[in-house]
């Protein structure tokens, strides 16, 4: 059973990496963008990393795993916002990034406080 899971995971990962190398994402960029294929591949890689985090959120055996994965998912989305700032040329994406950093920090602190099992007013 474990060997079958290894095989499926390897095939899926190799297929996605091959897709990244062969076809970059063509949309989400303004027409005269230089290095267009680089940014298309960057978006692919960040989306793949977000999907790995989602796997850990679904499968995590304890609550702490899920909290770590939610935190890292937020950080990856900040990186995605930074890449989208360059590739679409719209500068308000980075504002979403700043807001997401602060909000993710507060929510992670609250969730770890909940995990510790005490009240919130210490």
């Amino acid at each position: 059973m474990k060997r079958i899971r290894w095989f499926i995971g390897t095939v899926v990962l190799a297929g996605v990496v091959g897709l990244i190398i062969i076809r970059p994402l063509p949309f989400l960029s303004y027409p005269g963008l230089p290095y267009l294929s680089f940014f298309g591949r960057a978006l692919y890689i960040l989306i793949l990393a977000c999907l790995l985090c989602l796997y850990r959120i679904c499968r995590g055996p304890t609550g702490a795993d899920r909290i770590v994965a939610i935190d890292i998912l937020g950080i990856m989305i900040v990186g995605l916002c930074a890449v989208l700032t360059i590739s679409t040329g719209r500068s308000w994406y980075i504002d979403i990034g700043i807001a997401w950093v602060l909000q993710s920090f507060i929510s992670t602190l609250a969730l770890s406080k909940y995990l510790e099992g005490k009240g919130f007013d210490e």
């Binding site: 960040l46 609550g63 890292i72 990856m76 990186g79 700032t85 990034g97 950093v101 770890s112």
Partner: protein, 111 residues
């Protein structure tokens, strides 16, 4: 020229982010996963944001990227420490291969 250097920084950050997420899937334990995850915050996303600053130049969005780096460097170690402390106090087990657990020894010494 700064364009090319920024693209190199973004590529390095992408590699760190991807391998951090892979470590989040593959490692056996909460504390090991936290180890991989904090590396991917500090080196990965900060490097992507610095590359964004180098590519767009010192305009408003580049300065906001620098501000975002400062916020990340201030907040992410605090949150990682809080999650690790909360997990240890909630009684999440270490994996079988781990060698030493200083925090529980400390708590036994206090009690």
């Amino acid at each position: 020229m700064s364009n090319i250097i920024g693209l190199i920084f973004i590529g390095l950050g992408l590699a760190f982010d991807f391998f951090g997420a892979l470590g989040l899937v593959r490692l056996p334990d909460v504390y090991n996963r936290l180890q991989a995850a904090t590396k991917c915050v500090t080196l990965g996303t900060c490097s992507i944001l610095f590359g964004t600053f180098l590519v767009v130049g010192p305009v408003a969005s580049g300065m906001k990227a620098l501000l975002c780096i400062i916020f990340l460097l201030l907040t992410s170690p605090v949150s990682a420490h809080a999650v690790a402390r909360g997990a240890h106090r909630a009684g999440v087990k270490l994996c079988e291969k781990s060698v030493v657990d200083r925090y529980s020894e400390d708590k036994e010494g206090e009690a």
